[in-house]
Symmetry: C2
Subunit: 310 residues, 2 copies
């Protein structure tokens, strides 16, 4: 989006939506910051006000709860923690977003959450004459910072078009996947791919280690061909270095796998690879790794064979 000299979006002022933002964690803070950079008027709230201080210093306005954010906005984005948080933020009759938005207002849930909850929120919004989109992202804290997120959208066409200029402030691959819930379903597809692929990366490294191979040399042979993946190129080197700092927390990934498996069960789907991944990640959690990065899976896989990884 182009901005003019005074920092407001360079389109006719009456078309510029007032933006609300809920949730200023690692992801949300960067994303809301891009909207401020683009000149949007942003009203926000978050559980811990201190986490919003930088954004407030940069001109964002504080509101005390999601309903108040909604009352002062045309479009409200949320990116919070768990589906229970999503439910409270958007659906709470007392201080939720839907209770505060004016007719034709749009709410956009960017939390990775349940597809079925996205449908429920959509229906509740519709009853009030509002629009609802589910739009979870992938790309991590780095994608949020650099504005290169992949955004997977579920919902109707008109609101997608309306929010697109905002999404372009922090997204690079922005795809409308279908009706309500389709964004969340697509995110579950994404997480299923990552989860099962991570088992392969960990088992491969554990095998190589036990076979006495030099792990970085092995990566030279296997990274660029048919065995190659983002996880292998980006996380295997960190596993080899014993670097378990979080790019993405184990506990958040476990949440996502739980959602995917519950939705799969509702759809009568058997996904043994994803179920195995969940079990192995639960073992990481059981041994105190909830706040490690997802690459810590290698410890649990090594431990199956009595190996201390690092």
């Amino acid at each position: 989006m182009n901005t003019n000299a005074t920092g407001t979006p360079a389109s006719d002022a009456k078309d510029i939506p007032r933006v609300g933002w809920i949730g200023t964690g690692v992801m949300g803070a960067s994303m809301a910051g891009h909207l401020l950079d683009a000149g949007y008027e942003v009203t926000l709230t978050t559980r811990t006000r201190a986490k919003a201080s930088t954004l407030l210093d940069r001109g964002a306005r504080w509101a005390d709860d999601p309903k108040e954010v909604a009352q002062r906005s045309d479009i409200v984005f949320g990116i919070v923690g768990f589906p229970s948080d999503v439910r409270q933020v958007f659906l709470d009759e007392h201080d939720g977003v839907i209770a505060g938005l004016s007719p034709e207002g749009i709410l956009v849930d960017m939390t990775t959450s349940q597809p079925s909850l996205a449908v429920e929120i959509h229906q509740a919004a519709k009853r009030r004459g509002l629009h609802s989109l589910d739009a979870p992202v992938s790309g991590g804290d780095r994608g949020a910072r650099e504005g290169t997120l992949s955004i997977m959208i579920g919902g109707e066409d008109a609101p997608v078009e309306r929010v697109m200029p905002c999404l372009k402030c922090f997204g690079k691959t922005i795809v409308h996947q279908g009706g309500p819930g389709a964004g969340q379903h697509t995110k579950m597809v994404n997480q299923t791919l990552i989860a099962t692929g991570m088992i392969g990366v960990c088992e491969a490294l554990v095998y190589a280690s036990r076979a006495g191979l030099d792990l970085p040399t092995v990566l030279q042979s296997v990274s660029s061909g048919a065995a190659g993946s983002w996880s292998l190129s980006n996380l295997a080197p960190r596993m080899i270095d014993g670097d378990f700092d979080p790019g993405f927390f184990v506990e958040h990934f476990v949440k996502d796998m739980g959602i995917a498996l519950a939705e799969a069960k509702q759809m009568n789907l058997s996904l043994p690879g994803l179920a195995l991944a969940e079990q192995l990640y639960l073992s990481v959690m059981a041994k105190g790794g909830a706040k490690d990065g997802t690459q810590a899976l290698v410890r649990a896989v090594a431990d199956l064979s009595g190996m201390d990884w690092n």
Copy 2:
């Protein structure tokens, strides 16, 4: 390798090794062809002579068995089917390669085979004053045709250096991984990565399909980020199209997984992801898919949930 006007390698003639080749299947025929292109004198044998006819027309010489190939060669390459074939080609006392090579001769097994068999062959070769390398490849028929294979080498330094000019005729990523068996172990790492990753790709597509998503549109969202992999980019589109033509046969992949799991068991390693992949691929075999491409796994994964994939 540079060649001069008469098609022989452009180095001093007395340094140019006479090359033997055993096995002219899809991979071997292309690879041996590159050696002919580079001007090497190639003597070959294969189980079905008709499969060598093009190479013979191009100047390769026929021998009746591996021993005779070895008697007329300084370096003998083999790329055959199963470990039992490898054992016969190299170790058979009557007509195997080791029985025919002159002292200082080098044998190179490029079949994907058992690391422990590679060690056994190395020891047998050493007792006869010969050198042995295990050098399995990845990159498939296309990599063989285009000369862009990844070659993973196990063995001692001197013979690796000696065969390198030959390997460069068909390899792009050529890495000496360690002592005898290290090439095969690295290939097992490669196959472990592919096998488990394939479960993820198949479960992701089956989930997406059951959720009612448009599969090519889903790939737009998930292919280029943290969920991305070679298998997702190259095989998922073929799964979506119902194209199960073999790039790599299911039955060969099942052989490889069997080797990896047996070696892992010998090393006291628990690899539940790879074991699951083997079981699912055995289901593909059980339903007549032995000669399908590895992407046929999606049928077995879909079938778990009572879905007919294509």
